[in-house]
């Protein structure tokens, strides 16, 4: 096990290089002029000046050279300071958002992290529980009700469901508004009466001891969480149910029962741990998916996370920003994937890693 973990950690630099190559190769679909946003903010208007920019920043250099400069940055020929370079944390300039990509990520990521933390547990725990119930009560009305509930969840488009709950809970009832916080909270932050520490509003409000702000933030997050949960439960129930059904049908279940193990124990202590494998994979994937910014949900609810930022940039074809966000996500998720893989190996000792 320790060996496996060490091997896995050694691989991380390799993955990082791989991801950077993937992103860099996608950059190559862009014209040299479009790529100049990696290094400079304002493009000159005239053709000659544009050519000068391309030469000055080596945007037509051989690919390995360009890759190197993309990693470590390049010297601005006029001022002498280093610009660009993803290793330096400079992901370029977003023309659609009118700010540096890294600044945008710093502003947006806490919101996404917060939504992930609040959304993950209801999705996994309730989803798995529903799936197990469906498997235990296989082919009964209970099972069919759960399956029906989930199949509608799988069929409802995320954005349609989101617009529907908005229609009901926001437009009609006015209970749960879209966005992140209400106007009065923004005014308090600007007025200095509410100190921002982590940029995660729920944690900040606890630090400040402001329950009204906490409630306001939660009020804004409820609709995205409902939407995300309903749509993710579907996959959890399906996977848990079919995996659990398979284990419940195994011979060792009969053996356990005939030994006199209680029904409850055969299910939870014998079948469930064995059925856990795909669920862990799925939970890991879900966490990773949430963390990387839920593009559509955030867009529908106007939630200022990474996902909605990426969507906004993509719809105005601002590739530099989208690629920057993806690169950030990629690095983040390499670490998350490592944890998932380790859990995977812990859960199933049958798997031998050669």
């Amino acid at each position: 096990m320790t060996n496996y973990i060490i091997r896995r950690i050694i691989l991380i630099p390799l993955l990082l290089v791989g991801v950077s190559l993937l992103i860099f190769s996608m950059l190559q679909f862009l014209s040299p002029v479009a790529r100049s946003a990696l290094y400079i903010k304002d493009l000159p208007k005239s053709e000659e000046a544009l050519d000068a920019v391309i030469i000055a920043y080596g945007l037509n250099d051989p690919l390995p050279l360009q890759y190197w400069h993309w990693l470590v940055g390049r010297t601005n020929p006029y001022t002498g300071e280093t610009v660009g370079g993803v290793l330096r944390g400079d992901f370029g300039y977003s023309h659609s958002a009118k700010q540096d990509v890294i600044v945008m990520i710093k502003e947006r990521f806490p919101a996404t992290l917060e939504l992930t933390m609040w959304g993950f547990f209801p999705i996994v725990i309730i989803g798995t529980w529903l799936g197990i119930q469906a498997a235990i009560h296989y082919n009964t009305l209970y099972d069919q009700a759960i399956c029906f509930f989930c199949i509608t969840g799988a069929s409802l488009p995320l954005f349609v469901f989101g617009l529907l709950v908005l229609m009901i809970f926001y437009t009609k009832l006015g209970w749960f508004p879209p966005g992140r916080v209400s106007q009065w909270v923004i005014q308090e932050i600007q007025g200095g009466t509410f100190a921002v520490h982590t940029d995660m509003m729920t944690i900040d409000s606890l630090i400040n001891g402001r329950l009204d702000v906490l409630w306001d933030t939660l009020r804004h997050m409820i609709l995205p969480i409902i939407t995300l949960s309903y749509l993710n439960w579907t996959t959890f129930v399906r996977v848990t149910r079919s995996s659990m059904l398979e284990e419940l049908g195994q011979d060792y279940m009969v053996t356990a029962r005939s030994k006199g193990v209680r029904m409850q124990d055969t299910r939870w202590k014998h079948a469930f741990p064995n059925a856990l494998l795909p669920i862990i994979t799925l939970a890991g994937g879900t966490f990773i998916g949430l963390l990387s910014g839920v593009v559509i949900t955030e867009t529908v609810f106007n939630y200022p996370g990474l996902g909605s930022a990426a969507a906004a940039a993509a719809s105005s074809l601002d590739v530099i920003a989208v690629l920057g966000i993806s690169l950030f996500n990629g690095v983040l998720l390499i670490l998350a994937n490592l944890i998932v893989d380790i859990l995977y190996a812990v859960a199933d000792p049958r798997i031998r890693y050669a």
Binding site: S155, L163, L245, G330
Partner: protein, 354 residues
């Protein structure tokens, strides 16, 4: 234990033998049975007897008819115009309710079914979106788009995924490692985000067509199947019958296709069959974000996206969400129902329990 297995195997094979030689329970074999085999016929029979799959098929047939009869159900403006272009009744931002008169850009010939409802002039049967695109026309022609995108994407991703996943799991060692690391790299950038990037990058090259988002969804979709089937094969390839086959000197390819894939593919099939709907959804989501096809191209996701202009009065303009949303929902639901039925029919372990 071994003895019972042998006995049942012998009995089963005897029964099958009888069926194959024409001395089965019914005394003769039907035409279909002679051509595609007993097992397939039984599967088909179960498939056509499950209410869920019948419902799914009926809905799909209706959608299929709509797609085929689109030129008659919603006649295009004239022969020169691309029929996928939704005709636009002016440019007003405010949507028009269902059954309003069609003033500008109305199709010259009325569709045949207008007579059934005593409609005598061109009418927006389901209203218009903000920006005055006819919702009914968009839904009818969008059916074709939905079929095209869903089928092509699903087949492409599952075939690529199964091949790569099987190779990785079966050979293990270095091949497995390399393939899994490539998958890791592809997966570190989350699905929607990665597809978003790729289609954003491809869009200027391919123009605003269906191709860019489709290629993007395929390029970043196959890894999930590869991982899933790999994890199943990892536990199956240690099973006795595989080892037995290997000891007997059966060729690798034959072991893979005869012994391993049929026993490991069910979870992948469930996911793939479910994903048919899922990919239609992803594609619609891309159009919803404004990345799919051209503005005014008949596509359900885009139709729904128009409604976001009026988010604070969605309860008044409900028809801009409900009608296209319901079409998308029904379409995906049908595929999901079929997917569930396919799983129940094809997995012999589940079949036994009934």
């Amino acid at each position: 234990m071994a003895e019972t297995q042998l006995t049942t195997f012998w009995k089963d094979s005897k029964a099958i033998n009888e069926l194959l030689t024409g001395k089965g329970r019914n005394g003769h074999r039907g035409w279909l049975e002679q051509h595609i085999g007993t097992e397939a016929v039984r599967n088909l029979r179960t498939f056509f007897q499950t209410p869920a799959s019948i419902a799914g098929m009926v809905i799909l047939v209706v959608f299929g008819l709509i797609a085929i009869l689109a030129p008659m159900l919603a006649p295009p403006l004239n022969a020169e115009v691309n029929p996928y272009q939704i005709p636009r009744d002016g440019f007003k931002a405010e949507p028009k309710p269902p059954m309003t008169e069609w003033k500008r850009n109305a199709p010259k010939d009325l569709p045949f079914w207008y007579g059934w409802f005593d409609i005598e002039q061109p009418t927006h049967v389901l209203g218009t979106t903000p920006g005055q695109w006819d919702i009914f026309y968009g839904i009818v022609w969008g059916t074709r788009t939905a079929f095209k995108t869903g089928v092509v994407i699903t087949i492409a991703v599952s075939v690529i995924g199964v091949i790569i996943g099987t190779i990785a799991a079966y050979y293990g060692g270095a091949i497995d490692n390399v393939l899994m690391r490539i998958i890791d790299i592809f997966m570190t950038v989350p699905f929607i985000m990665a597809a978003l990037v790729l289609s954003t990058v491809l869009a200027p090259r391919l123009g605003r067509t269906l191709a860019a988002p489709m290629i993007a969804l395929i390029s970043f979709g196959w890894m999930f199947y590869a991982r899933l089937i790999r994890s199943n094969i990892l536990s199956i390839k240690e099973k006795d019958y595989v080892i037995a086959a290997r000891v007997l000197g059966v060729q690798d390819a034959k072991i893979m296709f005869r012994h391993i894939i049929p026993n490991a593919i069910y979870p992948t099939l469930v996911v793939a069959s479910m994903d048919m709907g899922g990919y239609v959804l992803s594609f619609a989501a891309f159009s919803f974000l404004g990345i799919g096809a051209d503005l005014s191209y008949a596509d359900w996701g885009q139709l729904i996206s128009f409604s976001r202009d009026w988010i604070t009065s969605l309860d008044v303009y409900w028809y801009t969400v409900i009608y296209p949303g319901f079409a998308l929902f029904l379409f995906v639901l049908a595929w999901n129902l079929l997917g569930d039925a396919i799983r129940d029919v094809m997995d012999p372990r589940l079949r036994k329990k009934k």
